[in-house]
């Protein structure tokens, strides 16, 4: 069965590609605009106590920070939902039976579903980052190429890790809603672990702020541990998902 083509059709015909693209691109263009005009917006608003709030003049890194701060969260959330809908192979047992009786191994079910959503989400993130880079350059000034490329790579690594987490969740629970909820819960737990134990520097979740930090500080090495762990965890989660889905009964 041409499962790769089915997955591309799923993305195209259900218009899920639009859902993936929209938040990244919208905040890609909107983030730098917000950064540019935030001082004016704050300057015109006067608090009830008569205190005028002022903000420092924006720098180019602020444009990217606004994009990551607002767009990445929503974009990843949409990617989680889209991925959960795709990788929940057994959400409907009859449809699961249709697919399961047409493949020899469960990796043929999991890998195309994961990869197509991951590639589409990554393309949307790159498009959004490109939009933010362009808009920032136009409104706030140029951004350094090397940190932008490395930072974007870190964000992409975080995204594929999150989607692998969704695949693993879908092998534990059956419905897309539950898969998304379990993945979000796991991400939240990772954030908590990072705060409580001070392990944030090597957790994959620290990569979410990778682009902003690298553009601002130009220090790449601080993300090396978390990048290695995220890559390894992505592979491990996919192997886990393939094994679990292969053993699951309908």
């Amino acid at each position: 069965m041409r499962l790769w083509r089915v997955e591309w059709l799923r993305l195209w015909r259900t218009r899920r590609w639009l859902a993936l693209l929209a938040p990244f691109v919208a905040f890609g263009f909107g983030g730098p605009i917000l950064a540019k005009y935030l001082p004016q917006i704050l300057g015109t608003s006067i608090a009830s106590g008569g205190i005028r709030i002022t903000a420092p003049p924006p720098v180019p890194a602020d444009g990217i920070e606004e994009f990551i701060h607002n767009g990445m969260g929503l974009g990843v959330l949409v990617a989680i939902v889209v991925a959960a809908a795709a990788v929940s192979v057994d959400a409907h047992p009859a449809l699961g039976a249709f697919y399961r009786t047409r493949v020899r191994h469960s990796h043929q079910l999991v890998i195309p579903r994961y990869c197509v959503v991951a590639v589409a989400s990554a393309a949307a993130l790159v498009a959004g980052t490109g939009a933010a880079w362009y808009e920032t350059t136009v409104l706030l000034g140029g951004l350094p190429t090397s940190p932008m490329v490395v930072g974007t790579a870190l964000e992409l690594l975080y995204l594929v890790f999150v989607l692998a987490l969704v695949s693993a969740a879908a092998s534990v629970v059956r419905t897309p809603l539950m898969s998304a909820a379990v993945a979000l819960g796991a991400l939240f737990a990772l954030q908590l672990v990072g705060i409580v134990h001070g392990a944030g520097s090597w957790l994959p979740t620290s990569l979410a702020a990778g682009l902003t930090t690298v553009v601002k500080t130009r220090h790449y090495r601080s993300f090396l541990d978390s990048a290695i762990i995220a890559a390894a965890a992505t592979g491990a989660l996919l192997v886990f998902a393939i094994a679990r889905i292969g053993r699951r009964e309908l």
Partner: protein
């Protein structure tokens, strides 16, 4: 079957084409002491199934008898708790069509068939024509009725050119014409594909099957030819409807020495099982007349149905599923 081979612990006996097999001498599916237990409840209890190659094998039984579980294990979708499944064909030559097939609603019928097996588009269209869906081959499956989806399920299953085709309640949701067409289609597969299908409809079994298996409460109560089944298990059964106190008539019938049993149904009809056809034909109207009641109807049940009810009499009396049998 693909993915399920590992799950069900299937042991393929070898790689054969159906044409290489001699029907009736080669068993395409055998199970030995196949058992499935769901959290303490035994769904299948040491089932020894034997399906001859090229046959149309009907698997009947009341609701909850274990039919879907058995078919799911054979298709590799569930794993047995104990026992073995042996296939006479490669696991890839087995396909299953569930009772309510579901397909991606955004694919067209033609795409669904073409995606399900490595076949060319014209072959997919031919299959759709065979199941009566040629006119809607370009339509998205999301708008299909249940009957259309059922027929598409059969086309999809046939696209893989299976040696063993497993159909779970293939006629459910079909109108009489659709049911007739589907049974005709299954009949045409005789000899080139072994068909194993479960059903509630004994009339369908009588029409197309040459082998029968009766599952009752997880046990294979009967397996063999249809004629032998009727001869072995059929006991004359009549349904009597009277104007008057039916309970009184039940008591009178039970006193007759030719009556094996008389039961009052929830609809007021009386189901009478007799030891002898001739005595029952003479005795039933006589007893009704003696009771002073008007005889509204007197109907003898089909041999197959009577045999089924006789075989599964305990379930027929106690289980709600028995009422679904027709």
């Amino acid at each position: 079957m693909g993915l399920g081979a590992d799950l069900s612990g299937v042991h393929p006996l070898g790689r054969y084409r159906l044409s290489d097999l001699r029907p009736e001498s080669i068993l395409i599916v055998t199970t030995s002491a196949l058992t499935k237990v769901y959290s303490g409840r035994t769904a299948l209890d040491e089932v020894d199934l034997a399906v001859p190659a090229g046959s149309i094998y009907g698997l009947v039984g009341p609701n909850g008898a274990g039919k879907t579980t058995l078919l799911g294990i054979l298709a590799g979708l569930r794993s047995p708790t104990a026992g073995e499944v042996c296939l006479g064909v490669p696991t890839t030559a087995v396909t299953i069509c569930p009772d309510t097939p579901v397909f991606e609603p955004w694919l067209t019928a033609s795409e669904t068939v073409a995606f399900s097996a490595p076949i060319a588009a014209p072959a997919a269209d031919e299959l759709l024509e065979e199941v009566g869906l040629a006119q809607v081959r370009g339509r998205r499956v999301g708008g299909f009725s249940r009957g259309m989806t059922q027929r598409l399920g059969l086309a999809v299953a046939l696209a893989a050119q299976p040696s063993l085709l497993i159909l779970d309640e293939p006629c459910s949701g079909l109108d009489p014409a659709g049911r007739f067409q589907l049974l005709e289609l299954i009949t045409r597969l005789r000899g080139r594909t072994t068909v194993l299908f479960s059903t509630h409809l004994l009339a369908d079994v009588a029409r197309i099957c040459d082998q029968l298996g009766v599952l009752d409460d997880g046990r294979l109560a009967y397996q063999g030819g249809l004629a032998e089944f009727s001869a072995q298990w059929a006991r004359p059964v009549w349904t009597v409807r009277v104007r008057g106190e039916a309970g009184e008539l039940v008591r009178l019938l039970e006193a007759e020495d030719w009556v094996h049993g008389a039961e009052l149904g929830p609809d007021g009809s009386i189901r009478v099982t007799a030891y002898d056809v001739g005595q029952a034909e003479m005795g039933l109207p006589r007893v009704v007349c003696r009771a002073g009641m008007g005889l509204l109807s007197l109907a003898q049940e089909s041999d197959l149905e009577a045999a089924f009810l006789s075989l599964t009499s305990t379930t027929a009396r106690d289980g709600p599923g028995a009422e679904a049998m027709s």
